[in-house]
C-alpha cells in the first residue's frame, strides 16, 4: 500500500534513495550539500541500506569517487547543489563521456555573487551541455518519483548516461509537502538489479577506461555517438515514465501540457513555478481566457519536435527562465523554445520572461502579468519587447 506522508522535498528524495539502496554514495558532507545526503547517512548508520558511503573532501572529489565506483560496476548515487555542482564541473563531462549511469540530485540554487543561497536554475544551466540527462521536477512528489525513474533511465542499455534530477531549492527542498511513497518492494522491483556493462574490477575481462585520444583518433566520432545516445534517451524517458504510471498511478512524459489543447496563450516553464502557473491558468479559464502551460520535464535531451507540435496551435508564447545568459538573446529556455518553433509553418510570437533569480518570489500576480502581456501580443500580432524581467526592482 502506498503511504501518504508529510515530508520535505529533500526527505522524500532521501526516502527514494533508501528504497533504491545504491551500492555507493559519495558526498561532501557540509554546505553546499543538501539534507538529502545528511538523512541518507543516518540510514547508512542505522543499517537500513547496504550502501558504501564515501565521505569526501570536496564536490570535485565526490564526483570523482562516483566515476570510479561506477566504472568499477556499482550502482552509484549522489546529490549536490549550487556551488557544489559548479565545483564538480570538469568531472561531469568525464562521467557522461564514460557513459556511467550515475544518478544525482541537483537542488537548484543560484551561484554567487553577491552571496545568495536561494533558488534559481543557474547551477543546472552551467551543466546543460555536460552530456548529463537533466529532468526538472515541480514538487516533492515529482522529485521522489523521478529519482526512482532516473535509475531505470540511466541504466537502460540504450542510454547508459548519468541523470541529474533538478528541483527547486528551499521552495521544494525545504518545504513540507504531502506526497505518496511507494512500498519498498515496489521500488526494488521497479529499479531491478544493476548489471554493469563493464567493470574495472573484472580481471577476466580487462578494459581500458578513459584513455588518451589525440588529433588523429576518434574523439569527434565518440562525442557524436554520445550525442546520439543522449537524443536516443527521449523514448526511454517516456517509456519509463509510462511504466512508472502503471505501478504508481502517476504518469510522466517528456513534458506536461496543462490545458494546452485549446489554449491561445501559453507559458513554458520548468520547476515549482509550473504549479503556480497552473493555478493562474485555472483562474484565467474561469474568466474565459484560453490560457495553458507547458511544463518542461526533460530539458536535456530537449524534446524539440514534440514541444513544437504541442505549441503549434497557440497565438503567443512566453518562455520563462529562472537563469540568465548574459550577452545572449534571452535565456536558455527561451532560446530552446524559439529555436524549436522556427520550423513550424506558422510563426508564433515568443517572448522571454526572466524571473525568480536568487529566490525572488513569484506570486500568481506575476504570472497573470505574463499572460496579459501575451494577450496583448496575440491581439496585435506584434512583439513590443522580446526579453522581459518579472519582479525586477526597477
Amino acid at each position: 500500500m502506498p503511504k501518504t506522508v508529510a515530508l520535505t522535498g529533500n526527505s522524500a528524495c532521501a526516502q527514494a534513495m533508501r528504497q533504491i539502496n545504491p551500492d555507493v554514495v559519495a558526498a561532501y558532507p557540509i554546505t553546499p550539500q543538501t539534507t538529502i545526503v545528511e538523512e541518507f547517512s543516518t540510514f547508512v548508520a542505522k543499517g537500513l541500506v547496504d550502501t558504501e558511503y564515501v565521505t569526501v573532501e570536496s564536490e570535485h572529489s565526490a564526483m570523482s569517487a562516483c566515476v570510479g565506483a561506477s566504472a568499477a560496476g556499482s550502482r552509484v548515487m549522489t546529490t549536490t547543489s549550487s556551488q557544489g555542482l559548479a565545483l564538480m564541473w570538469e568531472v561531469l563531462y568525464i562521467a557522461s563521456a564514460l557513459r556511467l549511469p550515475i544518478v544525482m540530485h541537483n537542488v537548484n540554487r543560484t551561484l554567487s555573487g553577491p552571496i545568495n543561497i536561494h533558488c534559481d536554475h543557474q547551477d543546472s544551466m552551467g551543466a546543460r551541455d555536460s552530456g548529463w540527462i537533466q529532468i526538472f521536477c515541480e514538487d516533492a512528489q515529482e522529485a521522489y518519483d523521478t529519482t526512482i525513474q532516473a535509475i531505470r533511465i540511466a541504466e537502460d542499455n540504450r542510454v547508459r548516461l548519468p541523470v541529474m534530477i533538478c528541483f527547486d531549492g528551499f521552495i521544494i527542498s525545504h518545504a513540507i509537502d504531502r506526497l505518496d511513497l511507494l512500498d519498498d518492494e515496489v521500488v526494488k522491483k521497479f529499479v531491478g538489479d544493476f548489471e554493469p556493462l563493464i567493470s574495472l574490477l573484472d580481471t577476466e575481462k580487462p578494459v581500458t577506461v578513459g584513455p588518451f585520444d589525440g588529433l588523429y583518433g576518434y574523439f569527434f566520432e565518440f562525442r557524436r555517438a554520445q550525442e546520439l545516445a543522449t537524443l536516443g534517451s527521449l523514448p526511454v524517458i517516456a517509456e519509463v515514465g509510462k511504466e512508472f504510471g502503471e505501478v504508481s498511478g502517476r504518469h510522466y512524459g517528456l513534458f506536461e501540457p496543462y490545458k494546452l489543447e485549446d489554449a491561445e496563450l501559453a507559458v513554458v516553464v520548468m520547476g515549482s513555478t509550473a504549479g503556480t502557473a497552473k493555478f493562474v491558468v485555472d483562474q484565467l479559464r474561469e474568466n474565459g481566457v484560453a490560457a495553458g502551460v507547458l511544463k518542461i520535464r526533460s530539458y536535456r535531451p530537449f524534446p524539440a519536435r514534440e514541444i513544437a507540435e504541442a505549441l503549434s496551435g497557440v497565438k503567443a508564447i512566453a518562455a520563462m527562465d529562472r537563469s540568465l545568459a548574459p550577452g545572449a538573446i534571452g535565456a536558455p529556455v527561451f532560446q530552446e523554445i524559439r529555436s524549436a518553433l522556427y520550423d513550424n509553418s506558422a510563426r508564433v510570437p515568443v517572448i522571454d520572461y526572466i524571473y525568480g533569480l536568487g529566490g525572488r518570489d513569484v506570486p500568481p500576480a506575476h504570472i497573470e502579468k505574463v499572460f496579459s502581456h501575451l494577450a496583448q501580443i496575440a491581439k496585435s500580432g506584434k512583439i513590443d519587447q522580446v526579453v522581459n524581467y518579472l519582479g525586477l526592482k526597477e
Partner: protein
C-alpha cells in the same frame, strides 16, 4: 473551513516557529487535508526575526510562493510588533494571534492596528510554567486553534504525543500538551 487557509508565522530564531508550522501541516495530513509548510530561510541565528508559512486546503495545492495575503498571522514574540509590519497583506477579517501579556484592546491601541480580529495569550508564561522553558510554539498553536478553529485540538495533541515521542521525554511531551490546552483555554479575544 475555507478552501485554502494561509498562515504566516512571525518569530525569532529559536522560538520554534518552523516546528509549529510543521506541526500544523502534519496534523492536517492526519485529517486527509493538503498542506505546505515552508520556512523562509535566511541568515538564521538565535533571536533574528524569521517567517514561516503554512497552507492548508481540502484540495491539492499547486502554488509555490510565499504567503503574502494570509488569513491568519501568528506572532510568537511581542517585541516583533514594533519591528515587523505583522499585519502586512493580512485579510481585513483575518485573525492576528499574538504572544503577549497585553489584552487585544491594548495591542490594538498601542500599535494602532485597524481591522482584523486580534487574539492574545501569554504563551511565554504558559511555556515556562508547563514546559519549563520560554519556547512559545505549542501554546501559540493552542491559541491559534481556539481563535480560528482550523483543526481539532485533540487531533493536534495526539499528533504531539506521536511525533515528539521519538525525541523527547515523557515530561516534555506532557508539558507541551498541557501548554497547548491551557493556551487554548486562556486565549483572549476582543
Amino acid at each position: 473551513m475555507e478552501r485554502l487557509t494561509e498562515i504566516r508565522w512571525h518569530g525569532r530564531g529559536g522560538q520554534g516557529a518552523v516546528t509549529a508550522a510543521k506541526l500544523v501541516a502534519e496534523t492536517a495530513l492526519k485529517q486527509d487535508k493538503y498542506f505546505q509548510a515552508s520556512p523562509e530561510y535566511g541568515p538564521e541565528r538565535m533571536g533574528a526575526p524569521i517567517q514561516a508559512f503554512t497552507r492548508i486546503s481540502s484540495q491539492p495545492i499547486s502554488i509555490h510562493c510565499a504567503v503574502t495575503n494570509p488569513n491568519i498571522v501568528v506572532v510568537l514574540d511581542k517585541t516583533l510588533l514594533s519591528v515587523v509590519n505583522v499585519t502586512e497583506g493580512l485579510d481585513p477579517d483575518g485573525a492576528l494571534v499574538i504572544n503577549t501579556d497585553m489584552t487585544p484592546a491594548e495591542v490594538r491601541s498601542s500599535f494602532s492596528i485597524e481591522g482584523h480580529r486580534i487574539f492574545t495569550v501569554d504563551a511565554n508564561k504558559i511555556a515556562v510554567e508547563s514546559i519549563g522553558k520560554a519556547i512559545p510554539n505549542t501554546p501559540m498553536l493552542g491559541a491559534l486553534l481556539k481563535a480560528t478553529g482550523i483543526m481539532d485540538i485533540d487531533k493536534v495533541a495526539e499528533h504531539i504525543r506521536d511525533s515528539f515521542g521519538k525525541k523527547f521525554s515523557r515530561e516534555i511531551i506532557d508539558g507541551n500538551v498541557a501548554a497547548l490546552t491551557r493556551a487554548y483555554r486562556e486565549v483572549r479575544s476582543e
